[in-house]
């Protein structure tokens, strides 16, 4: 079965075709610059049979983008039998993947505001699919769904109950699809059933980042919270911040919460601290004339890794008998310095990184723990699209 997976942004549309159950990626691409005219025209960039192509094509909205993508796939005999959508936020309404119906689509309308940048374009795409290909089944997989098992004492904020209920305030957690996927891979490497795995998964991306505490295969906590702003220091997000600071910033901006939101989401984190780049790799490579790391780069990198390390310690205590720590996504997979700084001197948790293995540029997945360390330290490439395909395929099989 060819499953077409969509990962929808506000002005872009990434897609992959994965053939199941073989789990083979047969095509992929991205519709770029969807929407109002920009300096460059809209474009479809795609790869088929290992070759990359690019074609200029008008796409004023996601309806047109979907049309163009389907037309081009049909041209290449890659008609999908199922479409699976990634949706960032399912709220408390959606805690598992679903085959879409009119009723579910109506419910999705009610949670658009939970992720105002990500959810609306994904819903627009779903509607476009329904209109243009009404007989093509669609599924939706939520980033938050894996964290539906976070217990109340971990998801509850210490705010008045009436306020929490009125505004639906609780911790949701994000990157669930990725954490679920790499946890599954870790269980496979350990040769244990998924529902016996205890682990801490570290999804360290070039954009967002989060840790997930996993007990018996289930998420029990995530460093992101009500929104993706909480938790770790990220590329442009501040992560954890004293509420008093937010109030001070609001007062400084005379109540303009959009301005404060912009500062905390887009101008903080690695970019905000370093003033030079949002990518921690650039910071780790920043050198002054004498060859040493610049002082700004040094403190930025230290704050970045220190926060991950403290959260790792807290989640190892929560998980209690971890089988593994998992590093994944761009930074987790490709930056050994970050893994070293986070994991060094944690023998008291049973964690021992092997410095040489950690530096080896070997293929993934691999284990960079010292052989006599009790806790394995896996570096596993995440594959959210494959994870979505797996869940959607499983849904279709159950429905059949």
């Amino acid at each position: 079965m060819n499953i077409l997976i969509f990962n929808c942004g506000s002005s872009s549309l990434k897609y992959k075709i994965i053939r199941m159950p073989d789990q083979e990626e047969v095509a992929g691409g991205e519709a770029q610059r969807i929407g109002p005219k920009t300096a460059e025209p809209s474009r479809l960039v795609y790869r088929i049979a290992g070759k990359q192509h690019s074609v200029q094509v008008d796409m004023t909205d996601h309806y047109e983008a979907f049309q163009r993508v389907i037309e081009h796939l049909v041209e290449h005999d890659l008609t999908p039998e199922l479409v699976a959508h990634r949706m960032v936020h399912g709220g408390t309404l959606f805690n598992q993947p679903l085959i879409l119906t009119d009723h579910i689509i109506a419910d999705l309308e009610t949670i658009q505001d939970l992720a105002p940048i990500h959810n609306p374009p994904a819903l627009a795409l779903i509607k476009a699919c329904r209109q243009l290909q009404p007989d093509l089944p669609q599924a939706v997989v939520f980033d938050t769904a894996y964290h539906a098992t976070i217990p109340p004492y971990a998801y509850t904020y210490a705010l008045p109950a009436a306020l929490r209920e009125k505004l639906g305030i609780r911790k949701f957690g994000f990157h669930g699809t990725s954490h679920w996927y790499v946890a599954g891979e870790a269980a496979r490497l350990l040769r244990i059933p998924f529902d016996e795995l205890n682990a801490v998964s570290c999804h360290l991306g070039s954009g967002g980042a989060s840790l997930c505490a996993i007990i018996r295969g289930k998420s029990v906590d995530n460093t992101m919270g009500y929104s993706p702003l909480q938790g770790l220091m990220m590329s442009t997000r501040c992560g954890d911040l004293d509420p008093a600071v937010v109030m001070t910033l609001l007062a400084e901006h005379t109540g303009d919460s959009d301005a404060v939101q912009n500062t905390l989401n887009k101008k903080s984190g690695v970019l905000g601290m370093s003033g030079m780049s949002a990518d921690i790799r650039d910071i780790l490579n920043a050198r002054s004339a004498d060859g040493d790391m610049t002082s700004t780069a040094l403190i930025t990198s230290r704050v970045y890794t220190w926060r991950i390390r403290k959260y790792l310690g807290s989640y190892l205590a929560v998980v209690r008998e971890p089988h593994a720590i998992i590093f994944t996504d761009t930074i987790g997979e490709s930056v050994p310095e970050v893994r070293r700084e986070v994991c060094m001197n944690l023998e008291t948790f049973g964690v021992r990184l092997d410095p040489e293995r950690n530096l080896e540029p070997a293929a993934l997945p691999r284990d960079v723990a010292a052989p006599d360390g009790r806790v394995r330290i896996f570096v596993i490439a995440t594959n959210e699209e494959l994870a979505i395909a797996q869940q959607a395929y499983s849904l279709m099989k159950s429905a059949a």
Binding site: I169, D242, P243, Y304, S314, A317, L346
Partner: protein
């Protein structure tokens, strides 16, 4: 040495008198709503006058050698206790914009003390002083430097006097060498705080720029997704004052239970089943803080509980120690734990005494 201790809180001014080591209970007061007055100078003058009279009449104390004032915030300027001087007062005034609710009141209190207690050495003890030694990776937030500098944003702890007293207690008990002892100090005051301390230096603390960050308190929210504050402003149209009121006086244990309860109420053996979620939440966040502290230090030698609810350590410590003891490690000794029972007032009095003794010794050396 006769010592007057003054602890001005947000709403309550606590006063205590010590004759040497002995606390004179007849002089212990908790004066509520002391700030709600048209003339705070007169209020302070009257309070001090009444204390003086009681001390004289009940205990025959004519004067206090030292008056120790506990101050919640000293910024980066005050890294140790100091005797009052014009220079100190000038530096304190420089902190008004950083702590506009506290510092003016403190200045009024100091002024009253200087006028009424002519013969007393007035000593200021800052709860943040211990945390001026935090390393930058711990005290900095992931914000643009210009924002941090303009708004003077950095992390402090707010129970430094407790943590320092616990460290001194460990030193006195001869626990490990000074430089290497890895202590997790759990201060269970109405606003709890956990600090990880190696030797005499803090390396991690749960509080933040304000005591609002970290563990939930009796009425304070603790850790919170920053976007929740913005949602309150957007959705409910609340300004910073309204948000602050909710997060500092209506949240925490009160927000979770709907009642004015303390940590001891939550954990008491006959606590209501209604408190189960709150109890689990507090225990969970303590566990997380302990795990963070252990990662920050690379290990834990000892956990010490202090504060008003320190006795809860009897319940919490064995559970924490079990959760923090991992199999397959080369740990040779179990994590020890202890309870530091001295009250806040006694800690402040002792800190003032030590400071004065050191000052006298310095003078003799000169």
């Amino acid at each position: 040495m006769n010592t007057l201790v003054l602890i001005p809180g947000m709403n309550t001014l606590k006063t205590s008198v010590f004759a040497g080591d002995r606390q004179l209970l007849g002089c212990s007061r908790a004066i509520k709503d002391y700030r709600h007055t048209a003339d705070i100078q007169t209020t302070f003058t009257n309070i001090l006058g009444a204390l003086g009279e009681t001390s004289r009449a009940t205990y025959g104390i004519d004067y206090f050698e030292v008056c120790a004032i506990d101050i919640p915030y000293g910024g980066e300027i005050f890294s140790r206790p100091v005797p009052v001087s014009e220079d100190v007062l000038e530096r304190l005034r420089g902190l008004i914009d950083q702590s506009p609710l506290y510092i003016p009141v403190i200045l009024s209190l100091i002024d009253a003390c200087r006028r009424v207690l002519h013969d007393s050495e007035i000593v200021l003890i800052f709860e943040t002083a211990f945390f001026t030694k935090l390393p930058p990776r711990e005290y900095m937030y992931a914000l643009p430097p210009s924002v941090m500098k303009t708004l003077k944003i950095r992390r402090f702890g707010y129970h430094g006097s407790f943590h320092e007293a616990v460290v001194a207690g460990c030193r006195y008990a001869g626990k490990g060498t000074i430089k290497s002892h890895k202590l997790l100090s759990v201060c269970l005051e109405p606003q709890p705080e956990v600090a990880a301390i190696i030797g005499v230096k803090p390396v991690m603390v749960t509080s933040g720029v304000s005591p609002l960050e970290g563990l939930p308190g009796q009425t304070t929210c603790g850790e919170l997704d920053p976007s929740i504050v913005l949602r309150l402003a957007d959705e409910l149209g609340w300004g910073p004052e309204q948000i602050n009121l909710t997060l500092t006086t209506q949240s925490g244990l009160k927000g979770l239970t709907g009642k004015n309860v303390t940590l001891s109420d939550i954990f008491s053996s006959d606590a209501s089943p209604e408190y189960a979620l709150t109890r689990d939440l507090i225990r969970y966040q303590l566990l997380q803080a302990a795990g963070s502290g252990m990662a920050a230090m690379g290990d834990i030698d000892e956990i010490c509980f202090s504060g008003r609810h320190a006795a809860l350590g009897e319940q919490l410590a064995p559970w924490l120690v079990e959760r923090l003891t991992f199999k397959g490690t080369n740990r040779t000794r179990p994590i020890s734990w202890s309870i530091y029972t001295a009250s806040h007032e006694r800690i402040i009095a002792n800190t003032a005494h030590v400071m004065l003794i050191q000052k006298k010794m310095k003078c003799r050396a000169c």
